[in-house]
Symmetry: C2
Subunit: 237 residues, 2 copies
C-alpha cells in the first residue's frame, strides 16, 4: 500500500435509489434540482457525506431529509461507487450509491426540504436518456437490476409491502419489478413453503371481491433456498 505520495482531495457523496411500487409501476424517488449544474433537471436524492459520519448514516440522513416521510423499515444496501473524473463539473467527486426499498408512501409533503421530491416510474426516467442529472441514469439502472436480481434469491420483496400483506400483494411486487405475470398458485406455494419468508398473522384481508386472503408478516429469513428463479418461473400469458 503506497499511502505515501500526494492525496488529492475528493468530495464524497451518497446517492440513493429509493424504489417503491405505485399504481402498478416501479417508481423511484427523485428531486428537482434548484441550482446548477443540471438546474431544473431531476436527480436521485443524495448529498455530501459529513466529516464524522459513516456512509450508511449519510444515506439514511439524506433519505430522511429529502423524503420528509417516516421511512421506517426500509431496506437499505450499498450498490456501488461512481467516480469518473468528470461526473460532476464542479469538483472531483466519488458517489457511493445505495439501494433503498420502501412500501408505497404518502406523497412528499410540501414546505419541507422534500418539496421538490416526487415519485416517477423508472421506465420514464430510463427511457429518456437525459431525464436525470449527472450519471444518475446509470446508477438507477444498476439499482433496478439489483432489485430485480435480489427478488430471486432474497426476501427483500417484502420491503415493498406494508407490515402486513397478502401473498397476492407480494406477487404483485414481483410482477411489477420483473415486468411479467406469475402463476398465482405456484407463487403461493413457493412463498408459503419457503422457510422463514413469510409468517401468518392469523387475520384475513378485507378483500374487494373473491375469497379473502390470509395476511402475512415478513419472516426472519433474508435468503431464499431455493430461489424463485426469474428465468424459469412460469409466466402467465
Amino acid at each position: 500500500m503506497t499511502y505515501t505520495s500526494q492525496h488529492p482531495p475528493f468530495a464524497v457523496t451518497v446517492d440513493i435509489v429509493l424504489l417503491t411500487i405505485r399504481d402498478d409501476r416501479l417508481c423511484a424517488l427523485v428531486v428537482r434540482r434548484g441550482s446548477p449544474p443540471y438546474e431544473g433537471r431531476l436527480a436521485l436524492p443524495g448529498g455530501f457525506v459529513e466529516v464524522d459520519e459513516n456512509l450508511e448514516t449519510a444515506a439514511t440522513r439524506e433519505l430522511a431529509e429529502e423524503t420528509a416521510v417516516q421511512v421506517k423499515a426500509v431496506h437499505l444496501e450499498q450498490l456501488a461507487s461512481y467516480g469518473e473524473p468528470d461526473r460532476d463539473p464542479r469538483m472531483r467527486t466519488v458517489s457511493v450509491a445505495w439501494l433503498a426499498i420502501a412500501p408505497d408512501l404518502p406523497d412528499p409533503t410540501a414546505g419541507t426540504d422534500a418539496a421538490e421530491a416526487q415519485w416517477v416510474p423508472v421506465g420514464n426516467l430510463l427511457d429518456d436518456g437525459d431525464a436525470l442529472a449527472f450519471d444518475h441514469r446509470q446508477i438507477l439502472t444498476h439499482g433496478v437490476e439489483r432489485a430485480q436480481a435480489k427478488l430471486e434469491y432474497s426476501t427483500v420483496g417484502t420491503a415493498f409491502c406494508g407490515a402486513e400483506f397478502t401473498v397476492a400483494e407480494l406477487r404483485h411486487v414481483y410482477e411489477v419489478v420483473w415486468g411479467r405475470r406469475l402463476d398465482p398458485g405456484n407463487f403461493h406455494r413457493k412463498v408459503t413453503g419457503a422457510e422463514g419468508f413469510v409468517v401468518e398473522t392469523g387475520e384475513r384481508a378485507g378483500g374487494r371481491s373473491g375469497r379473502p386472503a390470509q395476511l402475512y408478516r415478513r419472516g426472519p429469513a433474508d435468503l431464499l433456498h431455493p430461489p424463485l428463479t426469474r428465468t424459469s418461473f412460469h409466466a402467465v400469458e
Copy 2:
C-alpha cells in the same frame, strides 16, 4: 440533492482483493507495510486514486505497480466501498474495494515496488483477526464471499485458470474456493454442457497419469444458466 453546504475533503483509495490458487489453497496478494500506521503489518495492495483517474484505472494501476507481474486477463470487478470515519487514523478516507482474480502467477520479483508483495492463504489471513491492517480483514472476507458466490452463477472460475485448462483444473478451482469436493463426472457434464462456458481447443493435456484430458478455453458466456449450485451440488466424501 443538497449539493449546497460544505464539502469536507476526503482521501479516496482503492484496495484490491487479488485472489489466486496456489498449492491447493485460495491465496490473496498482500504487501508488508513499510511505514505507519500499521507498520510491518500485512495489507491489501492499493493506494490513492489520482486526480484525473477513474476508479477502475486506479485499481489496475495499483495492481500493476504492486504486483510487478504482467497481470493479463485478470477478472476485475468492484466490490464495495468502506468509509468508517476512523478507518484510517491519518485522515478521513473512503476506500473503493475491488475483487481481482488471476491464474497462479510467478512470485512477485524483488527489486521492484512489489518486493514486499506475497501470496498468503486467505485462511491464514482471516483466522488471525489482526493479520491485516485497517479494515482489510473485512474487505478480504467480502471478496472471498463474492468469489464463492460468483462461481455459482457466472463463469469467473475460468479466471483462476490459464488460457488453456482441463475440466479437472477448473473443478479444482471450485473445490478450493468452495472448500468441498465435487463429483468429477457430474461436474464435467455441467461445465461442458453449459452454453458458452468452455470451448474445446482440440488438444489434449499431457497428463501425469491416467487418460489425458481435453483442453478447453474460456467461452463467451459470463453468466451460467442454470447455475452450479453450491448448496445442492453433490459433494464427494
